[in-house]
Amino acid sequence: VAPVLPRHHEAGHALETEHRLRLEAEAVTRTLRESLLPATLPEIPGAQVAGYFEPASPVEVGGDFYDCFAIEPDRWLMVIADVTGKGPPAAAVASMVRYAIRTAASAGQNPPQVAATASRMLHLARPETDHRFATATIVEASAVGDEFNLQVTVAGHPPALVATGRELADWLTVPGPILGIDSDQRYKSRSSRLTSDDVVVLYTDGLSEARTNGGYVGIEGLARTLLEHVEDPAATIVGAVAALATDAIRTDDIAVLVLKVL
């Protein structure tokens, strides 16, 4: 009879330890995830900005992130990126890419130079990162009166959407290689002007490639949802676009960043 009580005690103790370890692991995951996203988005006079991130599963971290910060009082950088793979190793590389971009932009580099710097950093780190690459879209938005000038550089990332009025105006894209492959990658940029009510949506392929019963969400699905909500505030647009994937079958992270001119 004697062994029964201690055994129960041990089981209870093991469960407690397991519970504590799980809480600790969740705290680490949360910290890692938070380190990849801006705590607050900047106030942009005359515009609204909203972001959304959801990992592939609630207990995971991944390689997707968005970022938005002021470079100068009238100039902001918007970034969306996707590092190959998932889990803490991908998140660690995502953090490197995020700060390489922030550092380069803070030092006065324009989007093509920022992309080249991030690419070189990632290339140099290949042995440590298990040769992970990243795709990114880097957008510099400058206020010009009531309007915004965009300078866009793309590093192998799916095209951003732009809606003007109630119409899909553009896919913001310009060919540029995935970050980190070669030591000396060059990037181009293209310019675009946003006026009142125009909306830009940056996203990662976890969203466009999510599968629903009707097929892939696709960039067409994204465009349709954007047009349905184009008159809503940026936060509503982000929510509506992200909702396309929340019921879908997906194995990847989702990141979305929306800028709307008021």
């Binding site: 996707d82 040769h131 799916p158």
Partner: protein, 128 residues
């Protein structure tokens, strides 16, 4: 039964499959379905196995691939680098549809020898 995983009105992609064979002087790896994070390791293992056939060129056939993500591109890029170190090239067949869009967006077309059909690739490899 009309295809594995098909449900009425539902949408199920082709399951991921990978085949390896030899054609002429080349080892051929053909994939089917989606090459993404969950299947990239299998894809990579098949290409590495093909590389290890001595003196053979490697052809990767993507004709039945519906989608490739950045983890799939990573496998292709790293494989082409390994082959280049040995004086060879990665030959890729059928960069079309969604795969073409991903290649174009990534601006990586010039890293590979790309062919319309498997026959074209085998003929090109044979004449090297």
């Amino acid at each position: 039964v009309s295809g594995a995983g098909a449900t009425s009105g539902g949408f199920a992609p082709k399951p991921f499959e990978i085949y390896s064979e030899t054609g002429g002087t080349a080892s051929i790896v053909s994939a089917q379905g989606e090459i993404d994070l969950s299947t990239a390791a299998q894809f990579e293992a098949a290409i590495r196995a093909a590389e290890n056939h001595n003196e053979r060129e490697v052809i990767v056939d993507l004709c039945e691939v519906d989608f490739i993500d950045s983890s799939g591109l990573r496998v292709l890029i790293l494989s082409s680098e390994r082959l280049r170190d040995r004086g060879k090239e990665l030959h890729v067949v059928c960069v079309a549809g969604a795969v073409r869009r991903v290649f174009d967006t990534a601006a990586i077309n010039e890293r590979f020898a790309i062919y319309e059909s498997r026959g074209e690739a085998i003929a090109a490899v044979g004449s090297r």
